[in-house]
């Protein structure tokens, strides 16, 4: 066991930085960018934790991870114990340790953040779960008493996986229905390999399968079977299908062959492994000068993927300023280090190109300035007349956000599941139940495009809501016969 150091020294120590691949090198490979803490680094960082009671950090964690407990176990060099502490509330630790925006969650509420050096909770979470995976440490679960009730989970993304894991641990029989051939949802089709290796997603989904959760891949709920028909077979249902429909700018030239949605570009590269073409059959096009529209995390992923696929120049075009960019600061920094050029206050108005061949030659843009705050609280960008200019580009990636996919909502409407004007489900914040009893929802299809961790939080909340619903003797399939 490593020594417990005096409080004063804990306050003085600086955060341990995580080693990263050099930007010059990593810009050309798909290996993970940060390479992870060593054992020594993890212990040194864990020793800084003040072990507050009650812990402020946990207040900022939607997955309710037992942060102080798992960090204490690291200090004690009991990594397996630490891993089990995390698993008590979160079955996707290696994923969350990598992709959560800790700076606005646990690290923001961490007491040490007042001095600007919060505990690197995400890095420690990542270290522990990586250690467990590499050392073949598995959760030993006590015998679970079966409740003899079934739950359908639609969508094997972060919300669905976590909800399924929690319910299975409570004693329910859960089946996950996934439209793709692999589980993980956005974790496998959206987030690139260099941020979240797919092997990790596969592993953590595999661990959830070991809990007894059944996986039905290649199953498009609402098409392969209608939602009313599925509801007839289960005691409760959790819908977490994400917000996967891509939005386009709706400007001229967008249907040229060299214009992609970020979803298509990333799905080809990540899920279908087009970055390993022709070993894998799925092709992907890459331009020499790639222009990505938008400044969210997905836009950064697209711009960085473009560089790795061989683009010489990778631009990001965003109509607001750096301050309003929705991407994590860390992601923007990583992109800039690798050479992505960010163009703020720039609005694309036309994609230029050849309609015979489908090639793109450039993008006409207009300069913007910030006006009064709009309904989102951010200052509204206004075009500055006469500032039109052309950005040279031979490929454009639309990454301006996503919308709700209507397949499931349309099919669920027959049961009285209501949607709001944006196509997302109307739900109860407390239980995550939709307007139809027995059908719950969570993740992006409930709140619009958000983060992995909020989806995880929803999954947990819904699991409790479903448990409450079923424990009170209710049942979805029986309610249909009423």
């Amino acid at each position: 066991m490593a020594e417990m150091i005096p409080i004063k020294e804990r306050m003085q120590r600086d955060q341990v930085q995580m080693p990263e691949q050099d930007p010059q090198i990593r810009g050309h490979n798909f290996n993970e960018v940060p390479t992870g803490y060593t054992k020594e680094m993890a212990i040194y960082e864990a020793q800084r934790c003040l072990q507050c009671t009650p812990p402020k950090c946990v207040e900022g964690c939607p997955a309710e991870v037992r942060i102080t407990e798992f960090i204490q176990k690291i200090v004690e060099e009991d990594f397996a114990g630490s891993y089990f502490e995390i698993l008590k509330t979160n079955n996707l630790p290696a994923v969350c340790g990598r992709v959560c925006p800790q700076e606005t969650q646990c690290c923001e509420t961490c007491v040490l953040n007042k001095k600007g050096k919060p505990i690197a909770i995400g890095r420690l979470e990542r270290f522990v779960s990586d250690w467990a995976r590499e050392n073949g440490v598995h959760e030993k679960l006590p015998e679970i008493k079966k409740k003899g009730k079934t739950v359908a989970v639609i969508g094997a993304g972060p919300a669905g996986l976590v909800c399924a894991a929690d319910l299975q641990k409570m004693g329910y029989d859960v089946t996950i229905f996934e439209a793709f051939h692999a589980s993980g949802g956005v974790l496998v089709y959206g987030i690139p390999e260099f941020r979240l290796p797919k092997e990790i997603v596969r592993y953590e989904a595999g661990e959830i399968e070991k809990l007894g959760v059944k996986f039905e891949t290649d199953f498009v709920a609402g098409k392969t079977k209608s939602i009313p028909d599925m509801a007839k077979e289960f005691n409760a249902m959790f819908i977490a299908i994400g917000a996967g429909a891509p939005r386009f700018m709706e400007i001229p030239g967008e249907n040229l062959a060299m214009v992609y949605s970020a979803n298509e570009f990333l799905t080809r590269s990540n899920l279908m492994k087009a970055y390993r073409f022709p070993e894998y059959d799925t092709p992907i096009k890459i331009g020499r000068k790639v222009c990505t529209i938008g400044a969210g995390n997905v836009s950064m992923d697209s711009a960085r993927t473009a560089l790795r696929l061989g683009a010489e120049v990778s631009h990001i075009v965003y109509r607001r300023s750096r301050k309003e960019a929705p991407a994590r600061i860390e992601e923007i920094a990583h992109a800039e280090e690798e050479g992505v050029v960010l163009n703020f206050l720039t609005l694309p108005i036309k994609v230029l190109g050849d309609y015979e061949t489908g090639e793109v030659t450039g993008m006409e843009c207009i300069k913007m300035e910030l006006g009064e705050p709009d309904e989102s609280g951010r200052r509204r960008p206004i075009p500055v007349e006469g500032t039109n200019f052309i950005i040279e580009a031979d490929m454009v990636i639309d990454s301006i956000g996503t919308l709700a996919n209507p397949i499931v909502p349309r099919s669920a409407a027959a049961l009285g599941v209501e949607i709001n004007k944006w196509g997302y489900f109307v739900f109860d914040e407390e239980t995550m139940q939709t307007t139809r009893e027995g059908i719950f929802c969570g993740g992006d299809i409930a709140r619009g495009a958000a983060t992995v961790i909020l989806a995880v939080g929803d999954g947990k909340k819904a699991a409790r809501g479903i448990d409450k619903y079923l424990s009170s003797g209710n049942s979805l399939k029986e309610s249909l016969n009423k």
Binding site: D218, V220, T224, P246, Y260, N263, R268, M272, D281, N405
Partner: protein, 296 residues
Amino acid sequence: MYKIVEREVLVPNIVHIKVEAPYVAQAAQPGQFVILRVDEQGERFPMSLADWDREKGTINIAFFVLGTSTMKLAALKEGDSILDCVGPLGNPTEIENYGNVLLACGCFGIGPTIKLAEALKEKGNKIISVMEARSKAYLFWQDRLRDVSDEFHVVVGDSSYGKKEWTNDFIQEYLRAGNKVDIIFAHGCPFMMMECSKASKPFGVKTIVSLTTIMVDGTGMCGSCRITVGEETKFACVDGPEFDGHEVDWDNLIMRQRRYIPQEYRSFSLWERDNWHKIMDVALYEKEKLLMMQQG
């Protein structure tokens, strides 16, 4: 895994398979398609459903062998399995009593058209069908289509079977002769459907085409399949696959269909180098294959 229970080469380059896919078979409707992925390295691609058997839990697909994915599919034998089969996807055809319905089909569109004819006939429509092939030797399932048609015609692109003509020529002549047609359904390659739409447009007869463009997920998630219809962008997978052929921007569609030709050719050459012996019975004609790829 989805087991292939039957496989036959119908004519050179067109293979018919029957696959165990109980969920798909249970829900399938005329006009729908599935997404297949043959193996772990494979891509996802759409295929129109040619038939299904709800009781036996099987679906039928007749496909044209063109690139790596269809080659891989053609190389599978009875008893082998396809890794992924998702569906049924897309909106079913609107089956109504239209009156006189003209069904034009060719190639992989023949199977789906037979199912469509059955459903339309049941609704009381008069079925006039026309089937096309490059040559007499490339015709298949004529009897099946004839059985569900009130009027049945065959056209071929050379002089091996009467007059040389294609379905679009037939449509033009048929409408010009004053025959009453209330709606046309065309199913075949994009070029054939474009020509049929052009042929019927001057006569103002609504023409529905089935567009299974390049897709990845097939559920409206990627936008790869997007096409221009009227002035609007539509997703073939969730808004279609059926559209008004007179409204479709065919130039844009064909340009987008051609966008991976260099990659497709490279991928195919590599696969063929190691696996040519697996597809001997498909009787590929090298020259024709190259020509098809150039034409997209």
